[in-house]
Point group: C2
Chain length 112, copies 2
DNA sequence: ACTAAACTTCGACAAGTATCGAACTAAGGA
DNA sequence: TCCTTAGTTCGATACTTGTCGAAGTTTAGT
């Protein structure tokens, strides 16, 4: 489900509030590192909690050296900004980047 | 409007610190409004202090409804981030957008 | 039911940011 | 020289953000 337009035609224009949230979310080195980590799929492959293109919060915690509550905070900022999606499965939460959203932000910057 | 397809060679990759400064600068509605205002050339034309593609600080102050010192603060954030350039002429300072810098930030976001 | 694991929410504190008014600097006139 | 105009710098205050540890929630296993 929800694979949809891989051809990424129109990333859908953002309103000012959405752009603001996205840029505030991106204006943090830790959160950009999270996005890069998700984008790289972290694919140290068959670990217990991560599938091929998703990463669980515990991996992020380990990777960044931050406690779980801090990671949770960053993830909710990214989620609220529409830059990542979360999928819960059992006790784990798998995150992945929403590439179209990043593309939309990039497009908005170019039209500033 | 919009001069469009400039050959946009290579906007030059940003290092992490430059990207951080640029995104922090962009993560403010007031500063984005400043960039839009500069980009539109504000060209209410032949006013006393603004040339065709540049805007003086006093115009920004008026446009945003902020006192001069606050505008000065925002402009130095934008300057330090490399997103605008300033040219002093007499008692006025003319600002203009550095479009390549915005393009570089957009490109970095797309490669996150 | 009890326990453990994986998150999230809450409360607190430190650090950073936005804004103002006041004081300062620089440039052009009268 | 004195005065005015355009901006910058400084100091204060209010707001926002990043981070932690502690407590709460949800899910799975025994």
């Amino acid at each position: 489900m929800a694979v949809m337009t891989r051809n990424a035609p129109a990333p859908a224009a953002l309103d000012e509030a959405a752009l603001d949230a996205a840029l505030k979310a991106l204006a943090s080195a830790q959160r950009r590192e999270i996005l890069r980590f998700l984008a790289s799929r972290a694919a140290e492959s068959g670990k217990t909690c991560c599938t091929q293109d998703e990463v669980c919060a515990c991996k992020l915690s380990e990777h960044l050296g931050l406690v779980a509550s801090t990671v949770s905070h960053h993830m909710s900022v990214l989620k609220d900004a529409g830059l990542v999606s979360a999928r819960k499965d059992g006790t784990w939460v798998y995150y992945s980047v929403i590439r179209d959203a990043l593309a939309a932000v990039a497009a908005e910057i170019n039209t500033l």
